[in-house]
């Protein structure tokens, strides 16, 4: 099927309109590599914006009492840190990886819908601007938490409307990105590139794209109901007029739980490329990896209310959502075991991407285990809305998604820039981030178990020491990320060894058959995959 639908660029047209120069190259970009680069640069910038917000709130939390920020501003920091990291940084970064790597990995010349690709990127700066500007409107930004629970959201000022509008725009961008990825993966594979030969990154993104298509409209519905409740007199969430605040939570988490997997499945794909490459051994259990990914995706739609154990669900609801959630640990475990078996009796080397890969395994498994622990409803009720939850999801989102992206970034940077990155700086970045990450987030488990609630601008003095540790770790972690910027700038400027087409001797896949840096147009004639 794929062989007949591969797009052949007619002779003479391929290079006739080659790279436009200057700002036009970026504003009118239709090339998947240029758009991928823009996605990655944008998400890195947003990582720093969200990171600065995190450091501001950690500054306030360094010691008990209110020293720097009043609670209403503090709540804006926590809320916007979450929204910006999720919608501005992690999701766009993975779409950037997909743009760059999926066509190269399946032997396609570009993404299926080049102009829609351009549009879906350029919506992002608009959404990000709305998020950022909302701090400066009367009443400030949304301060109701990234989950935007009604009816607190109904009390917010115009900053909330900025958030709602931004979420709509970023959601539209995600939907277009997802459509593009699905069509590209299904229709534009090179001859012989059957589904079960695709690199796992393409598989995980294909499944992720379906998740996005299913859930982004649900989020749009939830925030639209907030909007009409706020301004147009509806009462979806107002009990006095027949609404129900818990309805919001059901709708939100029907989006919110699969969203967690949107942010981790592509990471699984990256890790499934990096670990085999540096173990010099094929990925163990490829088919079971595909099935496990699909199983996780399906289960992710069936477990949303485990975020709501304290809302007072009926006993059957609590038991069902507890059992279903615990089941997710099984396909996730299969993935971990497969990666470990891939390393077993390989010929391992520990370049920076592999360090991030192993580092990912280590911290992600901690986040996975705390996930299993909070799946158990009675324990969840004890730690719900405490710092234990903050620790849990940062172990999954920072140590899972972000560390996997770093593994991928170092792994493919030679392909993107044509220059080997600075290995010493890369390793420094890894060790510095890994240590400071754990100093920041590990003590939060203790805080949560001891009962410190999240989203608190001030806390009982008994919690002081671990909060101090977390703040010191957070600043260390934040500043460690500047090393990455330095590594990338050096590589982009060509300061380093020129990279060969396949800089990693264990790496497999079509992306390593093209020169480094990857030429502007690749696979204009589809490669033959045996």
């Amino acid at each position: 099927m794929s062989s007949v639908t591969v797009d052949h660029i007619p002779a003479g047209e391929g290079h006739a309109h080659d790279t436009p120069k200057g700002w036009r190259r970026w504003l009118f970009a239709t090339n998947h590599k240029d758009i991928g680069t823009m996605y990655l640069v944008f998400s890195l910038a947003m990582l720093f914006e969200g990171g600065v917000l995190a450091l501001l709130l950690r500054t306030e939390l360094f010691s008990p009492g209110l020293q720097f920020f009043q609670p209403e501003l503090f709540n804006q920091f926590t809320t916007m840190h979450g929204l910006i990291m999720i919608f501005g940084s992690i999701m766009p970064a993975f779409v950037g990886f997909a743009n760059w790597m999926i066509p190269l990995q399946i032997g396609a010349s570009d993404m299926a819908f080049a102009r829609m690709n351009n549009f879906s990127f350029w919506l992002l700066p608009i959404g990000a601007t709305l998020f950022t500007v909302s701090f400066f409107v009367p009443g400030g930004a949304n301060a109701a938490g990234w989950t935007m629970y009604a009816p607190l959201t109904l009390q917010m000022g115009p900053g909330m409307d900025f958030t709602i509008f931004a979420v709509h725009i970023l959601g539209a961008s995600s939907i277009m990105g997802a459509i593009n990825i699905i069509v590209t993966v299904l229709n534009m594979r090179a001859p012989g590139m059957t589904m079960m030969k695709m690199p796992l990154f393409c598989w995980t993104w294909l499944i992720t794209a379906y998740l996005l298509l299913a859930i982004m409209p649900v989020l749009a519905a939830a925030v639209t109901m907030l909007l009409t409740d706020r301004h147009f007199g509806t009462a979806f969430f107002n009990a006095a007029a027949g609404g129900d605040p818990v309805l919001y939570q059901h709708v939100f988490w029907f989006f919110g739980h699969p969203e967690v997997y949107v942010m981790i499945l592509p990471a699984f794909g990256i890790i499934s490329a990096v670990i085999p490459a540096f173990s010099r051994k094929p990925l163990f259990g490829y088919p079971s990896m595909v099935y496990a990914t699909a199983a996780i995706a399906i289960l992710s739609f069936l477990v949303w209310a485990h975020h709501m154990f304290t809302t007072g669900m009926p006993i059957t609801g609590q038991l069902y959502f507890m059992y279903a959630t615990m089941l997710i640990s099984i396909p996730t475990g299969v993935k971990i075991f497969n990666w470990v078996a891939t390393m077993w009796r390989g010929a391992l080397t520990f370049e920076t991407p592999m360090l991030w890969g192993i580092g990912f395994l280590f911290v992600f498994v901690i986040g996975g285990f705390t996930g299993l622990i909070v799946a158990v409803a009675p324990v969840d009720i004890a730690v719900h809305d405490t710092y234990y939850i903050i620790a849990h999801f940062h172990y999954v989102m920072v140590a899972g998604s972000l560390f996997a992206m770093y593994a991928g970034a170092y792994y493919w940077l030679p392909k993107w820039t044509g220059t080997m990155y600075d290995e010493k700086l890369g390793k420094l970045h890894f060790w510095s981030s890994m240590i400071s990450f754990n100093i920041t987030f590990f003590p939060m488990h203790f805080l949560g178990l001891a009962g410190m609630p999240r989203r608190y601008a001030d806390y009982a003095a008994q919690f002081t020491d671990f909060n101090m540790m977390a703040t010191i770790g957070a600043f260390w972690f934040g500043f460690s990320q500047l090393i990455l910027v330095w590594v990338v700038i050096k590589a982009v400027r060509g300061r380093g060894e020129p990279a060969p087409a396949r800089p990693w001797d264990g790496a497999t896949g079509l992306e390593w058959t093209v020169p480094s840096p990857a030429p502007h147009h690749t696979f204009e004639t589809p490669p033959e995959v045996k």
Partner: protein
């Protein structure tokens, strides 16, 4: 720039707080200094949650050690310098089935005892005493539905002075976890807590009881505890409820039955004595004086001590043409019924006619409002007429 300032500030604070911290002691009924794990608390539920957590933690730790033992063995023994020729295998049906089935069995083993606890936590039947708990921005309201204290109701607000929060005074031993009037319950009695909220979602959490339950505006939810020891137990609001989310703690005093009965009798007789005489006509100065106190405990968080509020979310009362300087009717109705769609709560059930009349009179005579507008004095009878 802001970040840099934060770093410097944090560094300077480290020295100062390092000294302050040395004196912090464990808080009885609250968190211990650097507490590492869940508390076993004083109820069977809290103990079984703690047991479940230990069980899960140990199982997870054993698996973790197994998995990362293997990884570390690979890292040492299968590095290229020692093991230059990689093996070729990439599947093994038996192993793959094993590591799917064995975790399934482990998960079922974890779920069984958890199920028992879920069932026990949800069983709110046969309570000895029922208390209705209402969440307000930002305080808790308690009302005894049955038992010797039936009909007793009061609000419970943070007792930590603002000066401690702002660092102008040394922090007390119960910093942020003390209230003016705690909930009082008898020991060894099953207490059913029925929750609702007046505005947004709050959550009533007391770690020592193993209880955390959201309070939903417009709906009732329930939970229960049976404290097995006397003492004072402390918790905090656990669901983001706006700016003073961190400042609405929960304090429960568990006492012997005899002491409880005595407490209930005093409360009930106080209830009978504290009549709200709506017919009384007050002097303006007296209303202003008592109104200032009401303002300080119920209004100041949003509308601020200087009456400037925090626009646009919390409007100013100073110079407010629409309400405070207008005829009294709109203002009385707003205080009684709240303003739907905003943070302005309905105070109809929180304050009596005299309190509402005095706080309104206070706002009409405070700041730059004095001498302006109509109806400078509002009497309890005016409030009663619109209630």
């Amino acid at each position: 720039m802001k970040t840099l300032r934060g770093v410097l500030g944090a560094g300077a604070l480290a020295l100062w707080s390092g000294l302050a911290c040395a004196q912090v002691q464990d808080m009885p009924g609250g968190p211990r200094v650097n507490q590492l794990n869940l508390t076993g608390g004083v109820t069977e539920i809290a103990r079984s949650i703690q047991w479940l957590h230990w069980m899960l933690l140990i199982v997870c730790a054993v698996i973790f050690i197994g998995v990362f033992g293997t990884v570390i063995y690979s890292i040492i023994m299968h590095r290229r310098s020692r093991h230059p020729v990689p093996a070729k295998f990439h599947e093994h049906l038996g192993v793959e089935i094993a590591w799917t089935v064995v975790p399934f069995i482990i998960v079922v083993g974890m779920a069984l005892p958890a199920t028992r606890t879920v069932v026990a936590m949800k069983d709110t039947t046969n309570a000895d005493l029922t208390v209705k708990v209402t969440g307000y921005q930002w305080k808790w309201g308690y009302e005894y539905v049955d038992g010797p204290a039936q009909g007793v109701k009061f609000l419970s607000t943070l007792a930590t002075p603002r000066a401690q929060i702002e660092g102008k005074e040394p922090r007390g031993p119960y910093y942020l976890m003390e209230v003016d009037q705690p909930l009082v319950v008898p020991v060894n009695k099953k207490v059913r807590i029925v929750l609702t909220s007046n505005d947004v979602i709050h959550a009533w959490m007391v770690p020592d009881f193993g209880v955390k339950q959201d309070a939903m505006p417009g709906f009732l939810r329930d939970t229960w505890f049976r404290a097995e020891q006397t003492g004072t137990f402390r918790g905090q609001c656990a669901e983001l409820c706006g700016k003073d989310h961190a400042f609405m703690p929960i304090v429960v005093k568990v006492v012997e039955q005899a002491e409880y009965d005595q407490w209930a009798a005093t409360q009930v007789s106080a209830l009978a004595g504290a009549g709200d005489d709506a017919g009384k006509v007050w002097e303006s100065a007296d209303l202003v004086a008592s109104g200032e106190k009401v303002y300080a405990s119920h209004c100041v968080a949003c509308h601020q001590a200087n009456g400037q509020g925090m626009p646009p979310v919390f409007p100013a009362l100073d110079g407010s043409e629409a309400y405070v300087l207008a005829p009294m009717k709109e203002q009385i109705l707003t205080v009684l019924n709240g303003h739907p769609g905003t943070a302005m709560a309905a105070f109809r059930d929180q304050l009596n006619n005299t309190e509402i009349a005095s706080v309104i009179t206070y706002t009409r005579n405070a700041w730059s409002n004095a001498g302006k507008g109509e109806d400078p004095v509002v009497q309890p009878s005016d409030v009663l007429a619109l209630r």
